[in-house]
């Protein structure tokens, strides 16, 4: 080989080697910049119905039917009222629900891999004093028996499997949601002090001998020393107690957002403390803090209620007129599927609707008490369900039921398949929760105008805080926007005059059932309010 050739050969081989190496290392970095289009759909409560209502309906009902009781609203409180009437009376009950399915905000969906919730997704073990609820849980086979000490045995398939909760904090998934990983000792001390205070509140009783905080909320003590807390915001209360740790504030605010959709500054201290201090469950086969949960969330419970709610449940039925005539209540509704209007003549009525619907429907009822409706405020919610190839692994505790990200404005996500006995699912489905506490008009406007792509981006950006590679795993991402996700217990609301006034039956004919009337949007309250309204109907 001549020197010249040799040189060329070496040169070429050097280039080849260098090129090979470069190409090899550059490959993994490629393609991450391009934003992948994520498949999915956007859902929400019936917009068509809302539009119809705003423009007004002037249909004359083509037919008239007689019933004993008409229930307006097929959410948990309406179903609970129907169930109670079905079990305890011979009344002919007709339930009218605007949407295609009953369950209200407790909705669910299903795909090839799992069912998943579109709303609330769990029920904490109820207090043993809440016997009405325990009866229902027995009927639903959630309680399978009682042990020798009389403690309920819960169905193991529905008691939340372990690991229950994890929190992504300081780059690590810690067990439980109370921050402790790499949290400074001074903050940990404050967290301990807060928890000790809450334990005290849990056992505290008022002068009337009742627990200071109880569920149903109506069973709480009327002692002023506790009810005064309703005048404060939770932020003020924490400040008063010298609880200033940012980690603690984050945790308490997370809880307020989780149950009320409100920030510390928006939430009544009484309501916030109720979250921590009202649960005293005891179970034969579980620790006290467990929850009952299902792949479809509380829609599972709503379905059990529906099964007991009687035969006459009319979905897709928009009530557009309500009048009291002589001893009858006249209810006109439009069947959204057939566009036919029907008039119901009922002896009694249960209104199981949120306050803004009630206000509209009662416009023609002169006896309706004046209620300041503006004090009923709502938090919009966004729920997203993601189908993933797999949830990316991270340091610390593996995928749990509830997975929260410290510092995220979301509430994290729930593993929809957590209660499945299958060890290794092909795909994983997670449900992401995002409350919108901002009450500004611009923020409310955005809730209704944002496109699916905007929500998708928001969801992915929040999840990326803990799972930087999550985009690569997403197969489907569906979003549900709840314009009125839940009632917000702002200071003065729970123990103020308007909530009480709104709950008063009208002329012994119309009773009211909705968790709005409790001031906190939890299953137990809706269930209780439904029974309460049914009882008012039956005793009057």
């Amino acid at each position: 080989m001549k020197a010249e050739e040799r040189r060329r050969f070496l040169k070429q081989s050097a280039l080849a080697l260098g090129g090979l190496a470069l190409a090899g290392t550059a490959l993994p970095g490629c393609g991450t910049e391009e934003t992948k289009q994520v498949a999915g759909r956007l859902f929400g409560p019936s917009f068509k119905a809302g539009h119809l209502l705003r423009t007004g309906i002037r249909k004359v009902p083509a037919r008239t039917q007689e019933v004993d009781v008409v229930i307006i609203g097929g959410g948990v409180s309406g179903l609970s009222a129907a169930r109670w009437l079905q079990k305890n009376s011979e009344q002919r009950v007709c339930l009218l629900e605007l949407e295609d399915r009953t369950g209200g905000n407790s909705q669910s969906g299903k795909n090839a891999h799992s069912a998943f919730p579109w709303g609330a997704h769990y029920l904490p073990l109820p207090n043993n004093s809440n016997t009405q609820l325990l009866r229902f849980l027995e009927e639903a086979k959630l309680i399978t028996g009682y042990d020798a000490a009389g403690l309920p045995l819960y169905n193991e398939y529905h008691l939340c499997f372990d690991p229950e909760e994890r929190l992504f904090i300081n780059g690590y998934w810690q067990e439980g949601l109370v921050p402790n990983w790499s949290v400074p000792p001074a903050d940990l001390q404050q967290i301990d002090r807060f928890q000790a205070l809450m334990d005290e509140m849990k056992q505290a009783k008022g002068a009337d001998g009742r627990f200071a905080f109880d569920i149903p909320l109506a069973h709480s003590s009327s002692d002023d020393q506790f009810r005064q807390l309703d005048q404060l915001t939770m932020q003020d209360w924490l400040q008063k107690q010298n609880l200033t740790s940012t980690y603690l504030s984050w945790y308490v605010e997370y809880c307020c957002l989780d149950d009320f959709g409100g920030t510390l500054a928006q939430t009544s201290a009484w309501a916030a403390i109720h979250y921590f201090a009202a649960r005293r469950a005891q179970a034969a086969n579980s620790d006290a803090h467990r929850v009952l949960t299902w792949p479809q969330g509380n829609h599972w419970l709503a379905e059990r209620l529906r099964e007991q709610a009687g035969p006459d449940l009319r979905t897709g039925s928009l009530v557009y007129n309500l009048e009291v005539a002589d001893d009858k209540i006249v209810v006109d509704y439009l069947d959204l599927a057939t566009d036919e209007a029907t008039r119901l003549m009922a002896k009694k009525c249960v209104m199981a609707t949120p306050q803004f619907v009630r206000e509209r429907l009662l416009a023609k009822v002169p006896a309706a008490p004046k209620v300041n409706s503006r004090i009923f405020t709502y938090a919009p919610w966004v729920v997203a369900n993601l189908t993933l190839n797999q949830v990316p692994a991270g340091k610390g505790i593996p995928l749990s039921w509830d997975n929260v990200i410290y510092g995220s404005s979301s509430l994290g996500y729930v593993n929809a398949q957590h209660q499945s006995v299958v060890g290794f699912p092909d795909k994983q489905v997670i449900t992401f929760y995002y409350p919108i506490p901002d009450t500004s008009p611009a923020s409310r406007q955005a809730v209704f105008t944002r496109k699916r792509e905007d929500w998708t981006e928001l969801v992915l950006q929040e999840l990326e805080k803990a799972h930087p590679s999550i985009r690569e795993e997403v197969e489907q991402l569906d979003v549900w926007v709840w314009g009125h996700g839940m009632i917000k217990p702002t200071p003065g609301f729970i123990w103020g005059p308007d909530r009480e006034a709104a709950a008063q039956p009208i002329q012994n004919k119309i009773a009211f059932a909705h968790s709005d009337l409790s001031g906190i949007s939890i299953f137990e309250e809706a269930f209780y309010k439904g029974i309460k309204a049914a009882q008012q109907i039956l005793t009057s």
């Binding site: 260098g18 190496a21 499997f161």
Partner: protein
């Protein structure tokens, strides 16, 4: 200020020597890891490497002009070849037919290039030193570099950087020296533009490799195996690896040893026979887990058995054990038997929906090392299991080591008891695993154990089983929590105890 040219060139000698030896050590270590038999690997690698250096030295005679440019060029090549050698070997292992060919080719190439460098540098320096001083200096730095490499390699590099990063790091040193020389000799050297570009390009590539080495490593876990890998596949659920040495085959799932062919008979005889031998005329037997067919092999020794249902999640495992010659020999073709029905699905889900009852159930799940598997040891699972056992039947459960993880072992026993089972705990010594525990469980009263085991068994007889039922003083029964879906107590015990044992 310009550094003295001699100092710079001698420093290059030092770097070249250090890097050269490091590449050789990396290759030797990798070969030992991947192929086993470290003595052979190290001596052949060292031999080939030194011989290749000889070839390089010989070839140096053909370089007559532009010596500095050639030196820089060779340095860049060493940087690239050496820097990427370990990564290439990692990636190509189990993907090419003859891994040894690739290995020795890379070692030779590195050797030749390094072998070229020392003669070249001596000739570059020949006019600047007296000959005896030159020889003395060059070889002094050469050997100091070698010493440095051999000391820091095991003490610092492997533990802190790992093999891939070590190679990239030294590649960067080589390339760095080359770039430095480029700037130093920019006036005197031909093709300076090309040389600079190639230096920079190789540095970029090496830095990228250094940064991404974790991702590259994730491709292959081959390092966890002591013996030669003869089969390796990633199923949707796990990495299945079969290794071989002169004595035995070993099967690993996700890096955890499942059995060694040298002593698996102890495990499987202990698992199956105490229970199955005690059931009168067993006809239908269920095996959950145990896709290797080794428990089935033992079950098929009973002539009364008409049907064996094997439920194992991973089709890749059951297929492998029904088709691979070596493994088919090991389980005596158990999975191909007409009596055996193989179902690949989740065992809990299957059992929950199955209406069938079985005379005997063998539960050979992986250890409860994670929450997904922990469900298969829960009281809820055992309640479902109870429904699947025919009257007069029983089940046996492999239950991890009662010596290493006593809380985990007794947690399985106590969980079974909490579901109304009568249990007979026993354990056996399986050299590959250590002291291993099993639980025989009857839905009602314990069946009387029949100690008259079939004579063809290699391990189990009546006297041995009497011993197996005895738990010595340091392994007494314990009170533990019951393992439930809502507390996963077993996974927590298991993690604590094995982590403690391994550290």
């Amino acid at each position: 200020m310009r550094i003295n040219v001699q100092v710079l060139l001698l420093f290059s000698v030092f770097v070249v020597a250090t890097c050269g030896l490091v590449y050789e050590l990396v290759a030797g270590t990798l070969a030992s890891y991947l192929l086993g038999d470290s003595v052979t690997q190290f001596s052949t690698i060292i031999g080939v490497y030194l011989f290749s250096m000889g070839i390089g030295s010989y070839l140096s005679r053909f370089f007559n002009r532009n010596l500095i440019a050639w030196f820089i060029q060779v340095e860049v090549l060493v940087a690239v070849v050496g820097g990427f050698s370990s990564t290439l070997l990692f990636l190509l292992f189990d993907r090419v037919a003859s891994f040894q060919m690739v290995l020795y080719l890379l070692v030779s190439l590195t050797g030749i290039l390094v072998g070229l460098e020392i003669p070249l540098i001596m000739r570059i320096l020949e006019d600047r030193f007296e000959f005896k001083e030159l020889v003395s200096k060059v070889f002094t730095f050469d050997y100091i570099g070698a010493l440095l490499a051999s000391v820091i390699f095991p003490l610092l590099l492997v533990p802190h950087l790992g093999l891939l990063r070590t190679s990239f790091f030294f590649g960067l040193l080589n390339a760095g020296v080359a770039l430095w020389l480029c700037f130093y000799f920019s006036k005197e050297v031909k093709w300076i533009h090309f040389l600079r570009i190639s230096c920079v390009a190789s540095i970029v590539a090496l830095v990228a490799g250094f940064v991404l080495s974790d991702r590259i490593l994730a491709f292959t876990e081959s390092l966890s195996y002591a013996d030669k890998i003869i089969y390796s596949v990633q199923s949707p659920y796990q990495k299945i690896v079969l290794t071989k040495n002169e004595r035995e085959f070993r099967l690993f799932l996700n890096g955890n040893l499942q059995f060694s062919s040298s002593d698996e008979y102890r495990y499987h005889e202990a698992l199956v026979h105490p229970g199955l031998n005690s059931v009168k005329y067993p006809k239908k037997v269920l095996v959950l887990g145990g896709g290797d067919g080794l428990a089935v092999r033992e079950i098929l020794r009973y002539p009364s058995v008409e049907k064996v249902v094997l439920v194992d999640l991973d089709q890749a495992v059951t297929k492998l054990f029904a088709s691979h010659e070596v493994l088919k020999n090991l389980n005596q073709g158990a999975l191909l038997s007409k009596k055996v029905q193989v179902i690949n699905t989740d065992a809990f889900q299957w059992l929950k929906t199955s209406q069938e009852q079985f005379d005997f159930v063998v539960i050979d799940f992986p250890d409860p090392a994670n929450y997904a598997i922990g469900k298969l040891y829960s009281n809820t699972f055992y309640k479902v299991l109870r429904q699947a056992i025919a009257p007069g039947g029983a089940a046996v459960i492999q239950a991890t080591s009662p010596f290493v993880a006593p809380n985990a072992y007794w947690c399985v026993v106590n969980t079974l008891v909490s579901c109304g089972f009568t249990t007979l705990p026993y354990h056996a010594h399986v050299p590959s695993f250590g002291d291993w525990g099993f639980v025989l469980a009857s839905p009602d009263k314990m069946l009387p154990v029949n100690g008259q085991f079939m004579p063809q068994l290699r391990f189990l007889d009546q006297a041995t089983f009497e011993q197996m039922r005895t738990f010595p003083k340091d392994m007494p029964a314990r009170q533990t929590e019951v393992n439930k879906l809502n507390n996963q107590a077993l996974v927590r015990y298991f993690e604590d105890e094995w982590a403690h044992y391994i550290n």
